[in-house]
């Protein structure tokens, strides 16, 4: 009787059997990698904006304070986007005829808001609050990255729940002194480990409750 299978059929069977065992692991790992990839988290992606606003120019070169435009950061959940009149405070004098600023001028004359595209968008069930983070020594650039080097704004960090919890579990490596919170060029000092623990005591941060679901979700 002639052979039904070629000799390499054995190999194929072995590979298939191995595949059955290994592929779920790959699938899980692949799924994990996907959820953490910029494709899902939006990290590093640059969205098109009606005006090519440059943080590099305004913060890096002009030295504007974050709070000049994002004035809710210290007192509200939202840091806030500047109303058109804030843009026009300067731009009625500086580059008053620049073509890229046409949408801004149009917004003011027609009393219609500028439709920005959100760069950082947390899901609706996350109740993040800027004010408490700022008050407890979490600097702007810790989450938003080096905006003074962003010609177009991008999301610098993954903003996943795991990433949030890393800091909620142990905030010490990220804490700054109160006067450093809005400093965009801040870098952790060499003794950040001791400094962070000292700041935890200064801000009276108690991490036991920070891991509760109810801190961010309700």
């Amino acid at each position: 009787m002639a052979q039904l299978f070629h000799p390499y059929a054995d190999t194929a069977l072995r590979v298939a059997l191995l595949g059955i065992v290994v592929s779920p692991a790959f699938l899980v790992a692949g799924g994990y990698a996907l959820t953490r990839s910029p494709y899902v988290t939006g990290q590093t992606l640059v969205s098109p904006q009606p005006v090519p606003f440059s943080h590099e120019h305004h913060v890096g070169f002009d030295g504007l304070d974050c709070r000049y435009c994002h004035f809710g950061a210290e007192n509200s959940r939202w840091a806030g986007l500047p109303p058109t009149e804030v843009c026009m405070t300067c731009h009625s004098q500086l580059f008053p005829h620049a073509e890229v600023l046409e949408p801004v001028r149009e917004s003011l004359t027609k009393d219609r808001p500028i439709a920005w595209t959100r760069v950082h968008a947390l899901p609706d069930y996350v109740y993040f609050d800027h004010s408490i983070h700022v008050a407890k020594g979490v600097g702007c650039t810790t989450c938003h990255g080096e905006v003074e080097r962003m010609p177009l704004t991008r999301q610098a960090t993954p903003m996943t729940m795991g990433w949030c919890l890393d800091c909620h579990r142990n905030p010490a490596p990220y804490l700054r002194a109160p006067d450093q919170v809005f400093v965009t060029a801040w870098a952790p000092p060499p003794d950040q480990k001791q400094e962070g623990l000292k700041l935890m005591r200064h801000y009276e941060i108690d991490t036991t409750h920070l891991m509760d679901c109810s801190v961010c979700h309700r």
């Binding site: 969205s47 806030g80 986007l81 009149e85 804030v86 009393d111 808001p113 109740y127 109810s214 309700r218």
Partner: protein, 946 residues
């Protein structure tokens, strides 16, 4: 999520093979589509557009709510409120502590006003004979008509309004009367009592009498319901509860009533009696106090009750009060005033407001219409076509006037019978002013620009009186400038707006003349049933009929929702062979009303009770076709009682509205669920049971351990907490069909337990939110850890983890968990609640729950979190009183207290050591954080039976 078509209800005997296969295929298809992509509209996935302001409104910081003081009308009187708005969008009503009719709390109606504001069924356009028109067309037609009347000084022109307590509107009315002297003004308020005439009968002059309930040791109510729904409910509830707290042993409330009311439930001693018997009791009490009238014969129960009441009255006559309800005869009401005068109890008399012109009644208007004296009828903020007493036949009579204008919030029954209709703004959209029942005036300021073009009562009256055309704001300021003068006006105006109540406006009491004893004769008993009417605890007189929160708010005793019924005593039903749910017809003179029967406890034999406000045909998509319209049976001469009614059974199917629960009887052992104590008595401490399980103490170190304490002796069962919770926490309404399946979503319910029997009920209200058990039975059974504890003792539900096994619900001994069988708040809303506009009512600090997840009371975790973030920003601890839960904030009697158990000095900690303190189902060792204080019944000697 794709929309899911609701499957028809399946019963095994109706299920065919074909139907089963259909369902199988449908199930498979929904399984396949169930894993669709997330909603493209959610911020995380799709639309990432963000719109900043162009010009920043002054004082607004996005994300930080704003609070404005204003006043909301109920039956024409104002209740001060503070409204929370997010970015100009009002979402929550709270009481105004400075306002005497609020004292920081609200009633159930005020809580639901935000939903009415965003009601898509509100009238949105001017209509001429039902067709959409515009303001210029209306203005020219109206002006032309007024010019005709101007020639004859307003003859043939009539204005019908509800009660008006707005000083500026009254002033406009006076101006109008002066400009058109022959114009007649009529007032009809469906829930108005009959205070005025009785005072005139006893004192000879018109007086406004207001009892000071907080100063009364002994209070006897005869078919009166000071704690019932109405503009005085909050202030009365607070006064009675405060009186009880001061010294429980000397505070005693007697209630003799024909139907069980909230006051009767709150009473220490209550007797069910027919109105005729109650009238006899009043006469007997007057005779006891020295009135020269023949002492009528009383039954033994009534005699005992009255003897005890009279004993207490005589012990401290200056601290005793008698209240007689509007359903009793005018002579009995007058006799009640005479008794109060004799006792010299805590009653204040006020001079009637003489700034306003005298208004006629609706009966006079009906007569004029019938006589053809009315050519033009203007109806402002009133719906007589649905609410006028049935003997007037008002809806048909209206057509006798050739030009009929209606202005109101809805295109309602009266609007449909009018030639012109104009929409009025919601109170949260208007500038006005309004007085509370005790005369304190508030400015009404808008929280939001009118959602649709609308014209207020001020704007409609102004052209009639030939006043200049100006905005309500300018008119109001001009009126107050006239009262205050220009000196320091801006400062006073600003202060009045901020405080929510105008200073120095509360009138002073006046001295009253000696009362004369009214003539009293034994009333001839009428054969047949006596039908008594009451404002509905949910829809009041029908003005809230299109509010889903209120429709789904359970009635205090029957727990019925989405409709009313003919309430009947079980003994009458047995005698006439009528069962609950049967359709019956009541005939009183020419008037007929048929509807379903609901058996009610505490109703006197021979008495039927129907609440007002139902049977609406043009309320809107929520309120249409629910219940029966009791107004049809009312008579204008005695609007609160119709005697001599005949009743017959029509059919066995009366379309009875559903109920969420029942009145629980408490036999034997179950009495510990809602215990009742004598004043000063203490509950026995729980006996320690032998156990190997050493109780785990509350983990030390954490600065907060949240807990709630509910005083069942102060709870009046008004439901304000239920709707406050709904408003604060985005709790959806599910509609009557889902309620029939037992799927109500309220996070806080009020259980009512009866210590008495059906004839003599002794109800105890027990509000039940989540207990936040320290050893919560719901937590270990959750397979996905969606039900977990946080470090401050909250039992939290993580919606994103929940997969909907409902194990937690089955394992919860208190049954406080609620499951979203459908997307009640998220795509499958009831009625028109899915309209995009209605979404504006949602609290942005609380997740809107999706289909298939479990939800429950969170102790208003968003408010705790807000307080914690504020305190941590200032590096301090949350102070006592800084976190106020929604239910606590709404409670008129401060029965609900919330605070930090880790602080031994906090109110909740102190109340844990109260002798009345008890824990619900303590034997289960769930260690609830929500605990109770027992009800006290100060029945007095010999009162334990009643």
């Amino acid at each position: 999520m794709p929309p899911v078509i609701r499957p028809p209800s399946i019963r095994a005997d109706q299920l065919s093979r074909r139907h089963a296969l259909q369902l199988l295929a449908g199930g498979a298809a929904s399984l396949a589509t169930g894993c669709s992509e997330p909603d493209k509209n959610s911020v995380a996935q799709g639309d990432r557009t963000e719109l900043p302001y162009v010009h920043m409104p002054e004082g607004l910081l996005p994300g930080v709510p704003q609070h404005y003081a204003t006043a909301l009308p109920l039956a024409g009187y104002g209740r001060g409120v503070i409204v929370t708005a997010f970015e100009g969008r009002p979402t929550k009503v709270e009481g105004n502590p400075r306002h005497p009719a609020s004292l920081g709390a609200t009633d159930v109606f005020a809580q639901a006003e935000v939903l009415s504001l965003y009601d898509p069924d509100r009238s949105q356009a001017i209509r001429a004979a039902g067709e959409i028109s515009d303001w210029p067309a209306f203005a020219s037609a109206f002006r032309a008509r007024l010019q005709e009347h101007g020639v004859d000084k307003g003859g043939g022109l009539r204005v019908l309004t509800g009660r008006i307590a707005s000083p500026t509107l009254l002033e406009q009315m006076a101006k109008l009367q002066k400009a058109l002297p022959d114009l007649r003004w009529h007032v009809y308020e469906p829930t108005q009592g009959a205070e005025g005439e009785a005072a005139r009968a006893v004192y000879g002059v018109a007086l406004r009498l207001r009892p000071r309930l907080s100063d009364a040791d002994t209070l006897i109510v005869f078919d009166a319901d000071p704690l019932g729904p109405g503009p005085d409910q909050v202030a009365n509830g607070r006064a009675l509860a405060d009186r009880r707290r001061r010294d429980r042993a000397s505070a005693r409330l007697y209630a003799a009533e024909s139907a069980l009311t909230l006051t009767g439930a709150f009473a220490d001693r209550r007797i069910t009696a027919h109105p005729d018997a109650i009238e006899a009791m009043i006469a007997a009490l007057a005779a006891e106090l020295g009135a020269s009238i023949a002492r009528p014969q009383l039954s033994s129960g009534a005699g005992e009750f009255l003897a005890a009441a009279a004993r207490d009255l005589k012990a401290r006559p200056d601290r005793a009060l008698v209240l007689v309800g509007p359903s009793l005869s005018p002579t009995s009401r007058a006799l009640g005033l005479w008794i109060n005068d004799r006792l010299d109890g805590p009653v204040d008399a006020f001079a009637p407001d003489d700034r306003a012109p005298q208004a006629g009644t609706i009966a006079a208007l009906a007569d004029a219409l019938r006589g053809g004296d009315v050519r033009t009828l203007v109806v402002l903020d009133s719906n007589p076509a649905a609410t006028a007493p049935g003997d007037l036949g008002f809806a048909d009579l209206m057509a006798r006037a050739s030009f009929r204008v209606h202005a109101g919030l809805y295109f309602d029954e009266t609007a449909a019978a009018s030639t012109w209709h104009a929409p009025t703004p919601h109170p949260l959209e208007s500038w006005s002013d309004i007085a509370s029942p005790d005369g304190a005036v508030s400015l009404v300021q808008p929280l939001i620009r009118p959602l649709w073009p609308s014209w207020s009562a001020h704007a409609i009256l102004a052209p009639m009186a030939g006043e200049p055309d100006q905005s309500d704001y300018e008119r109001l300021r001009a009126a107050w400038r006239g009262r205050w003068g220009t000196d320091g006006f801006e400062a006073r105006w600003r202060k009045a707006l901020v405080d929510g109540v105008v200073e120095d406006r509360a009138p002073e009491p006046v001295s009253r003349p000696r009362a004369t004893l009214p003539n009293w004769t034994v009333p001839a008993p009428a054969p047949g049933f006596a039908v008594v009417f009451a404002p509905d605890p949910s829809v009041f007189d029908g003005r809230f009929a299109n509010n889903a929160w209120l429709q789904e708010c359970p009635q205090p005793f029957s727990k019925a929702v989405w409709g009313n019924a003919i309430e009947m005593a079980a003994s009458d039903a047995g005698r006439l062979d009528i069962r609950e749910g049967d359709e019956v017809e009541i005939v009183a003179e020419e008037r007929r009303l048929s509807g379903p029967v609901r058996l009610a406890n505490g109703l006197a034999p021979g008495v039927l009770r129907i609440t007002l406000g139902y049977g609406r045909t043009r309320a809107g998509r929520i309120g249409n076709g629910l219940g029966i319209n009791a107004a049809i049976l009312r008579a204008s001469a005695s609007p609160w009682i119709t005697r001599g009614a005949a009743l017959r059974r029509v059919s066995g199917d009366g379309r009875l509205s559903p109920a969420v629960a029942g009145l629980y009887a408490l036999p034997g052992e179950a009495r510990k669920l809602a215990p009742e104590l004598a004043p000063g008595a203490a509950l026995p401490p729980p006996a320690p049971k032998p156990s190997f399980n050493t109780p785990t103490p509350t983990p030390p170190g954490d600065p907060y351990a949240w807990a709630m304490s509910i005083d069942t002796d102060a709870c009046i069962g008004c439901n304000a907490c239920v709707v406050a919770c709904q408003s604060e926490n985005n709790v959806p309404s599910v509609g009557p069909d889902q309620i029939r399946m037992g799927r109500d979503m309220h996070w806080l319910r009020i259980d009512v337990y009866d210590h008495g029997d059906g004839q003599a009920p002794r109800p105890v209200f027990q509000p039940v939110p989540c207990m936040h058990c320290e050893t919560a039975p719901c937590e270990p059974v959750c397979p996905v850890e969606a039900s977990v504890h946080d470090h401050e003792g909250l039992n939290v539900q993580v919606y994103n983890r929940c997969v909907g096994t409902r194990f937690c619900e089955s394992n919860c001994p208190y049954k406080v968990r609620r499951f979203n069988f459908f997307g009640y708040a998220d795509g499958q809303e009831y009625g028109d609640l899915g309209d995009p506009l209605v979404k504006a009512v949602n609290n942005p600090n609380v997740s809107v729950r999706a289909r298939g997840v479990m939800e429950k009371c969170t102790y208003c975790v968003q408010r705790i979190s807000a307080a914690r973030r504020l305190a941590e920003r200032e590096t301090r601890l949350i102070a006592e009183g800084e976190v106020v839960t929604a239910c606590q904030g709404a409670c008129p009697t401060q029965a609900i207290r919330f605070g930090n158990l880790a602080d031994p000095k906090s109110t909740v900690s102190v109340l844990r050591h109260d002798p009345r303190h008890y824990t619900l189902l303590e034997e289960l060792h769930t260690r609830p954080r929500t605990t109770y204080l027992a009800r006290v019944r100060n029945a007095g000697p010999g009162g334990s039976k009643a």
